[in-house]
Symmetry: C2
Subunit: 158 residues, 2 copies
């Protein structure tokens, strides 16, 4: 009889503490994500995956390969392909072949794509600033470093 | 020109710190969730939403209304209904009418459902314990309390 945080007797306290941490991390993350998803749709008529793809491309002005983009976003290639197709159609993303390699496509934001993303990103930053207002800058930096350390540990193990 | 954490000039540092925190919180949460989703499917042939529904019911031995369950899980009623239908068919969940109210259904785990969940929950706790091994018990408790405080702030505002 050991389940979530309802029983404490049979496993070490540390394991229960980590489980409670995970449950609260997940709840916080889902809440903020749902809030951002709603606001992106309401204010910019944009889905969260589309925003995520544009954010990834914005960080790489020289462009990304589809496989890099998928890995970065941790979603299936199929989904990313559909999103990129629509972005290309809307004139926000450019798809070009890499020199000397006709099989490899590089994608990047167009000037319009960059402008469009910057407008959304400014609003996004304000929303996050408001949602996480209980954290001081110092607390946020400290926690962020811990989480970044975890992520890089996991990525090394993959 | 303000986007994610690539530019620092035009907004206060605190807002950038909170944005970096959110990006790392989301990455950590997605990574752990994907890992748990994989392991649940591989070891128990169970989807994560199904596990989540069973976890919610396990915490409420007296049963829950469908609307409570949906709110708790922050997913659409439609999804939860489908999952509960399958759990009832598999003999893991019982659906019964509340006394004096023929329109309200109460659902709870059966004895088999409880046993099945406890087996999975014990494995789940071990996985989380391993994935978050970089946090000491004290660090986990401290961070968990901060996140729980945030969540209750948001819930009050809803």
């Amino acid at each position: 009889m050991v389940a979530l945080d309802t029983m404490k007797e049979q496993t070490p306290d540390t394991s229960k503490s980590r489980l409670r941490l995970w449950i609260n991390l997940l709840r916080a993350s889902r809440f903020i994500e749902a809030e951002i998803r709603d606001r992106l749709r309401r204010e910019f008529d944009v889905t969260l995956p589309r925003f995520d793809v544009m954010a990834a491309l914005y960080r790489q002005p020289d462009g990304m390969m589809m496989s890099q983009l998928s890995r970065y976003l941790m979603v299936s290639n199929g989904n990313v392909t559909g999103i990129v197709d629509r972005l290309v159609k809307d004139g926000l993303v450019l798809r070009s072949q890499r020199d000397g390699d006709r099989r490899t496509w590089i994608i990047c934001l167009t000037i319009n794509g960059t402008k469009s993303f910057e407008t959304m990103a400014a609003a996004h930053e304000q929303w996050v600033n408001e949602l996480l207002q209980d954290f001081t800058g110092e607390e946020a930096d400290e926690l962020q470093l811990t989480l970044a350390r975890l992520s890089s540990d996991w990525e090394r193990k993959e």
